[in-house]
């Protein structure tokens, strides 16, 4: 057994231990195969259980029936899914714009932070479900109201991540920028922003999930029905009509959406930080 190789690039690529390489490949395959296998096994068990015990589909539908519903109701569900996707992405985008802007202002000015931070905290700690009815009254359209609700939920992580990140720059590096008489803009561009990036990416992962939750919860509270509505409304409608398989189908789509958002933000984080930040570097073992 050889100890872990150091990161000394001077030594160049040492002759690679074949056994270790094979083990690494095996682990890579397993990291996909094992969760996939358990997932398939769980679904198979569900299918078998529903069939074996004749569970009525209006209580718990079998996976095959859920799939059939997904196919049959595809067009109408797709429209709702698209509505939820739009709502989620717009909320996340606005949260990023607002959170980063306000975060930068906070990081640059303590007095402004002290004056405004309580508002941000109030916005964060008050459950969105409790504010939503008011927002529904004041907002111009339902879509705007839903957007505001989802935005409130996603905004705070971005704000706090940005503030902490912008303050996290190494003190000696700050001194270096002072020594070379960097302008505030150069300091922000070359030092503070890159230092904040790991914190920002972490908050983006959190906010991505939260914006979807916000979009779904807001729609539940609004109780919107009709043609131009999202997946949450499909779930409510189906529950009124006792269409349990359809509820599951919509639920599957919401989950898929959440997974897609998580995968996307995780991928973005790896892309941006992969070559330098500890959190995303794959260590050679």
């Amino acid at each position: 057994m050889t100890p872990a190789s150091t990161t000394d690039a001077a030594a160049g690529e040492a002759p690679v231990n074949r056994e270790a390489e094979a083990r690494a490949r095996r682990e890579r395959v397993l990291s996909w195969a094992m969760p996939a296998a358990t997932m398939i096994a769980a679904i198979a068990l569900w299918e078998w259980w529903v069939r074996a015990y004749d569970i009525p589909h209006y209580l718990i539908p079998a996976p095959s029936r859920i799939l059939a519903t997904l196919v049959a109701d595809g067009p109408s569900l797709a429209g709702s899914a698209w509505f939820t996707v739009r709502l989620t992405i717009m909320a996340l985008a606005l949260a990023v714009v607002g959170g980063v802007t306000l975060g930068a202002v906070f990081a640059l000015s303590r007095p402004i932070e002290m004056s405004l931070f309580p508002f941000a905290v109030i916005l964060q700690v008050t459950p969105v479900v409790a504010i939503a009815p008011l927002i529904l009254i004041y907002a111009q359209s339902t879509f705007a109201a839903l957007l505001i609700c989802a935005w409130i939920v996603a905004f705070f992580p971005i704000l706090s991540g940005t503030v902490v990140g912008l303050r996290s720059a190494d003190h000696n590096l700050r001194d270096l920028f002072t020594l070379y008489r960097a302008t505030p803009w150069q300091r922000l561009r070359y030092l503070l922003a890159p230092s904040a990036l790991p914190f920002f990416m972490a908050s983006l992962k959190v906010a991505g999930g939260l914006s979807l939750i916000g979009a779904v919860v807001a729609e539940f509270v609004a109780g919107t029905t009709g043609r131009n509505t999202g997946l949450a409304s499909r779930i409510i409608e189906s529950s009124y009509r006792n269409e349990i398989p359809r509820m599951f189908a919509a639920l599957v789509l919401v989950s898929a959406l959440g997974i897609a958002i998580f995968a996307l933000t995780a991928w973005a984080s790896r892309r941006v930080l992969g070559h330098w930040h500890e959190s995303e570097i794959r260590r050679e073992t």
């Binding site: 150091t6 990161t7 000394d8 690039a9 001077a10 190494d170 000696n172 590096l173 001194d175 270096l176 920028f177 002072t178 020594l179 070379y180 008489r181 960097a182 150069q186 070359y190 030092l191 890159p194 990036l197 070559h275 330098w276 930040h277 570097i281």
Partner: protein, 257 residues
């Protein structure tokens, strides 16, 4: 020689919490000297260096640096105790930073950055990320960054304290070479007697609580100095002299170590 290049006149530094870090420090350094600030931790040597660099304001007294002929963007290079590299930038971009901040375009800066990296023996590593470099190599990048503006004065704050002995000796020789080739004036903060004697034309021994200059010792040993010098009787004698001066400051302060 004319006027000294760097002067400190009755400089005093109080920190906010009520510590007198530097008390009444007066000294002058001529162009071309290699001066070490030697002392125990807490003697204000790093504080003095940071004040000279303009990174800390003085509480009282004055610090003067003779204005240069304006031949470089920056007359001061600074090397920190840690390599202090930006982890998100390659070795090249780290060294390019001072020029970038000074508004020099990438294409124009490239030959100078390459030359600075070549001077510390890292030509092949321009594209390497800091995490791929060893401690000694990171420190070399840090030195290249300090040298890329062609400064007249190089300030070094215990730069090699965290490195192993072999790497430290190699880097000592590199610094001496840069000093001789570029006609630099160097202030080198260290707590190692051996390092200060090996490198310096003059050692300022500093005492702690409050920080002050306790002794000003010229190291008259001939140049150039190389690894042979480390075994010379002269080196041992100089080390003893400096070590005695350092010891007497410790006895004066009656600090337990």
């Amino acid at each position: 020689m004319g006027r000294p290049l760097i002067r400190m006149d009755r400089v005093r530094k109080w920190f906010g919490e009520g510590t007198l870090a530097v008390d009444d420090m007066t000294m002058a350094i001529d162009e071309g000297e290699f001066v070490s600030f030697l002392g125990p931790s807490g003697c204000g040597k790093s504080t003095a260096l940071r004040m000279i660099a303009g990174l800390l304001p003085v509480t009282a007294g004055t610090i003067g640096i003779e204005p240069g002929a304006g031949r470089t963007e920056h007359d001061l290079g600074f090397v920190f105790q840690e390599p202090t590299l930006m982890p998100w930038a390659t070795a090249f971009d780290n060294v390019y930073l001072p020029l970038r901040v000074a508004g020099v375009g990438r294409a124009e800066a490239a030959p100078r950055v390459d030359a600075a990296l070549a001077e510390v023996g890292l030509s092949r590593f321009a594209g390497a990320w800091p995490r791929q470099l060893s401690g000694g190599m990171k420190m070399r990048v840090s030195i290249a960054r300090a040298m890329v503006t062609r400064p007249r004065i190089l300030l070094m704050d215990e730069p090699f304290a965290a490195l192993d002995e072999m790497t430290r000796m190699k880097l000592n020789n590199d610094v001496l070479r840069l000093w001789a080739e570029h006609g630099l004036t160097v202030i080198f903060v260290t707590h190692s007697v051996f390092e200060s004697v090996y490198l310096s034309t003059r050692v300022l021994v500093m005492a702690a609580r409050p920080g002050r200059v306790a002794a000003d010792l010229a190291i008259a040993s001939p140049w150039p100095r190389d690894d042979g010098f480390r075994n010379a009787p002269d080196y041992a004698a100089q080390c003893r002299m400096v070590s005695d001066a350092l010891k007497s400051t410790l006895d004066d302060a009656r600090i337990d170590h």
